[in-house]
């Protein structure tokens, strides 16, 4: 007889939702979280796409501590001395199920945890799972502090830097080429100032804004801005291998330089930095995904590397929530049928395969490899676009040559074949 039917390690998006589903199904479930509260160790850019959350909590819009609904998508190519932005907004992206929200994980994850707790999950915060207990190949529980706690199934939802996944399912530490480092500052500003500066329609709406080029100073990665209610999340994500081998300055210096760029300086002027945080972003998708199940164990969320970074779109939390829901649901089914072996937990894998989670990760499988070799996106293209737009917009009284004559040399500098090749590459990869 185990102490609990299920133990969930980690109380982020995947863990809380899995615990909620298990508790809803009437299973005894314990959540072990090493932080003092759910969210204490967690960080996002960040924005959550609502579709997966809505399936679990249809009333989340009125209940969850959301910051702002994203009503404006911006993508910029930035050089040290210029910036060009595409600004997109539509009524469609505001519709239920298509809407997305900026969030801060400390408040957001506490809300998620409260939902699991209200449903009957037991919580211990401030205790770390230091080890996985095994009987042969089977995971039978966890070691936390002085305690050994047994369970029929253990759900590992302990994040991208999981130290337990290798013992649980033999996961390899991902290579530096497949992981990026994110560094973020939360900059406090008055609510109305943020609304005005991003041209939002109300204090409840805001912008999601991604940058390539100058934020990472030419190496693989990009910058981001997400507007919260009374703060701006500002940061960058840089490929670890690219930065450690080719970076010119440390990532926190990149962030400081990014903040001094006129576009960002104008956005955060008068703001106060209130937190400086870091988090890894798994970008290797399926290539670094560990086994998702073992005897008596399953993985969901970032511990399973469920994340996609397309440059114009970054997703992780909606995958974690959907996977957490499926993990909880199928762990409960396996418990009911009395078989939580790898075979008994197959329902979880099948559900993931049938859902957007594994379909998307498969679809975008080639993105990481392509992006890595796409150095021109972080250096050449922002410069090319700057030069072209300088030609178009600057009037200095000198006679204007035909457009073809002014543009061609700029494209030629980049190499017309390169441009064609990259366009084809993007089409093929996405």
């Amino acid at each position: 007889m185990s102490d609990f039917e299920a133990i969930v390690v980690g109380s982020g998006c995947a863990g809380s939702i899995a615990a909620y589903e298990l508790a809803q199904a009437g299973k005894s479930v314990l959540v072990v979280e090493r932080g003092n509260f759910a969210g204490a160790k967690n960080m996002t850019g960040g924005r959550i796409y609502s579709h997966a959350l809505e399936k679990v909590f249809p009333n989340f819009r009125g209940e969850a501590p959301l910051e702002r609904r994203v009503a404006c998508e911006r993508i910029s190519m930035m050089t040290e001395d210029a910036n060009v932005t595409m600004d997109f907004g539509s009524q469609d992206m505001l519709k239920d199920g298509q809407d997305s929200y900026t969030v801060l994980r400390a408040p957001f994850d506490q809300w998620l945890a409260s939902k699991a707790e209200d449903a009957g999950a037991e919580y211990i915060n401030g205790i770390a799972v230091e080890d996985i207990m095994k009987d042969g190949t089977r995971v039978v529980g966890v070691r936390a502090g002085e305690d050994e706690i047994t369970a029929d199934v253990v759900l590992l939802c302990d994040g991208v830097n999981s130290l337990l996944a290798s013992k649980a399912v033999g996961a390899q530490r991902p290579p530096a080429s497949a992981v990026a480092v994110g560094v973020k500052q939360t900059v406090e500003l008055p609510t109305s100032v943020i609304t005005d500066r991003v041209l939002a329609n109300s204090d409840k709406e805001g912008a999601a804004w991604l940058f390539s080029g100058y934020p990472t100073q030419g190496t693989f990665g990009g910058g981001f801005v997400y507007t919260n209610k009374d703060s701006v999340s500002l940061g960058l994500v840089a490929g670890i291998e690219a930065t450690m081998n080719c970076g010119k300055v440390p990532v926190y210096q990149m962030l400081e330089d990014f903040k001094k760029h006129p576009v960002i300086a104008a956005l955060i002027r008068g703001g106060k930095v209130v937190e400086h945080s870091g988090h890894m972003v798994p970008e290797g998708a399926l290539n670094i995904m560990p086994e998702l199940t073992g005897d008596g164990v399953l993985l969901a969320g970032e511990s399973a590397m469920m994340c996609v970074n397309l440059g114009y779109q970054v997703r992780g939390m909606d995958y974690a929530i959907a996977a957490g829901q499926m993990a909880g649901e199928h762990a409960a089914k396996a418990l009911s049928s009395g078989d939580t072996s790898k075979v008994g937990l197959q329902g979880y894998i099948r559900a993931l395969e049938d859902s957007f989670v594994l379909k998307d990760l498969r679809q975008f499988q080639r993105v990481p490899g392509f992006m890595e070799g796409f150095g021109r996106m972080f250096d050449g293209y922002p410069q090319m676009v700057r030069d072209m737009l300088n030609k178009i917009f600057i009037v200095d009284g000198s006679p204007v040559p035909p457009m073809k004559k002014s543009m061609l040399p700029i494209v030629k500098r980049m190499g017309i074949m390169n441009v064609l090749k990259d366009t084809r590459g993007v089409m093929r990869t996405l």
């Binding site: 994850d109 830097n161 530490r173 300055v249 400081e256 945080s277």
Partner: protein
Amino acid sequence: MSKLTDLRAKIVVNVEGYLSLNKYDVDESNAHIELVADPSDDEFAKLMLVCPAGLYKVDEGGIKSFDYAGCLECGTCRIACGDTIIRRWENPQPTMGIEHRFG
């Protein structure tokens, strides 16, 4: 000038000032990250570049130092140099380390 002092010269931001805004409960008795005894300059330079907290430091004379106290617990150094100069990487003791107020 060595590779490390070259890199040092390019760092103008005071990252400690930012770290001081974070909420930490530092475990003074237990270093959760340990380096090998004599880390190579090449590997150390990698960590200077990727650590978002700037914990891998070098002084004017090229002397290397590492202080886990301001760790953001991201794990980047473990991924970058887990096979080379990072000898041990653990999470801080429970309830210790960083506590995000925003996240």
